[in-house]
C-alpha cells in the first residue's frame, strides 16, 4: 500500500488511463476527514462499506437449487403490476 501524508487543503491526483481523479482534504474534525472528489462523471465513487455490502449481497444471491428457490418465491409473490407508476426517470 502506498502511504502519503496530506494536510487540510492539500490534494492527491490518481491517474487512470487518460482520466485524472483529484481528491482534496477539505476538513479535519476529531478524526473525521471531509474529502472532495473531482473526477469525470463516468468514474463512480462510493463509500467502501456500501460497495462491499452490495458485493456480499450479490454473492449471497447465488444459490445452488434454483428450482426449489423459484417454487418458494412463487408462493410469496403476487402477480399484479399497476401501470400507474413507471420505475425510472431520466434526468
Amino acid at each position: 500500500m502506498l502511504i502519503l501524508s496530506r494536510k487540510v487543503g492539500e490534494s492527491i491526483i490518481i491517474k487512470v488511463g487518460s482520466n485524472n481523479i483529484k481528491i482534496t482534504i477539505l476538513e479535519s474534525n476529531n478524526g473525521t476527514l471531509k474529502l472532495g472528489f473531482e473526477a469525470p462523471k463516468e468514474i463512480k465513487i462510493y463509500r467502501s462499506e456500501l460497495y462491499e455490502e452490495i458485493v456480499n449481497q450479490n454473492k449471497a444471491s447465488i444459490i445452488d437449487d434454483i428450482t426449489q428457490a423459484a417454487n418458494l418465491l412463487k408462493k410469496e409473490i403476487p402477480n399484479n403490476i399497476s401501470p400507474k407508476y413507471k420505475s425510472i426517470n431520466l434526468k
Partner: protein, 157 residues
C-alpha cells in the same frame, strides 16, 4: 448468430447480438461481462440473470414494481447516455432477490437495481445512495405494504 451457452438453467440458445454486456461488471463478479435474462415460464414472475461465461452464476431477479408498486429511481444523465436511453421504456429495471433456506428471510435489493438497455443491450448495476431503498428489504414486509397500497388505490380510485 445463434449460439448454445451452458448456463445455470441448462443449455440455452441465444442470439449473440442480444447478449447483455455488463462492461463494468457486477460488484463481486467484475470478471463476468456477458449475461442473458431468462424468463422460464416455470418460475414466472422470477427471472434469471445468467452469466454466459460462468455457469454457476445466476441471479434471481424480479420486476421491482411487483413488490413495490411505487418503486421509482432517477437515472443520472451519464448513465442514461451510456445506455442510450431516450425514454423510460427503453430500459428494463430488475432487482436481485436473496433466497435463504428460510422463506421468511427472503430479501430484495432495492438499493442496487440492474438496469438493462433495450437500445444497446448494455447493462449495469446502479448503486443508489441515501434513499429510502435499502440493500435488504424483507419480501414479506414489502408485499404487505404493497397490498395496502394497492387496496388504497382501488378504494380511492
Amino acid at each position: 448468430m445463434i449460439k448454445d451457452f451452458d448456463t445455470k438453467l441448462g443449455s440455452v440458445k441465444i442470439d449473440t447480438e442480444k447478449i447483455i454486456k455488463f462492461e463494468y461488471g457486477i460488484p463481486g463478479f467484475e470478471n463476468l461481462t456477458q449475461f442473458a435474462l431468462l424468463k422460464p415460464e416455470s418460475s414466472f414472475p422470477i427471472m434469471w440473470l445468467v452469466s454466459l461465461e460462468d455457469k454457476q452464476v445466476a441471479f434471481p431477479v424480479i420486476l421491482p414494481q411487483l413488490i413495490r408498486n411505487d418503486y421509482e429511481i432517477i437515472l443520472p444523465e451519464d448513465i442514461s447516455d451510456y445506455l442510450e436511453l431516450e425514454k423510460p421504456e427503453d430500459a428494463v429495471v430488475i432487482c436481485i432477490l436473496t433466497i435463504p433456506q428460510n422463506t421468511e428471510d427472503i430479501t430484495i435489493n432495492l438499493a442496487a437495481p440492474i438496469i438493462i438497455s433495450l437500445k444497446n443491450n448494455k447493462g449495469l448495476q446502479l448503486l443508489i445512495e441515501n434513499s429510502e431503498y435499502k440493500i435488504r428489504h424483507y419480501l414479506k414486509d414489502e408485499i404487505e405494504r404493497n397490498n395496502q397500497l394497492l387496496s388504497v388505490q382501488r378504494d380511492g380510485g
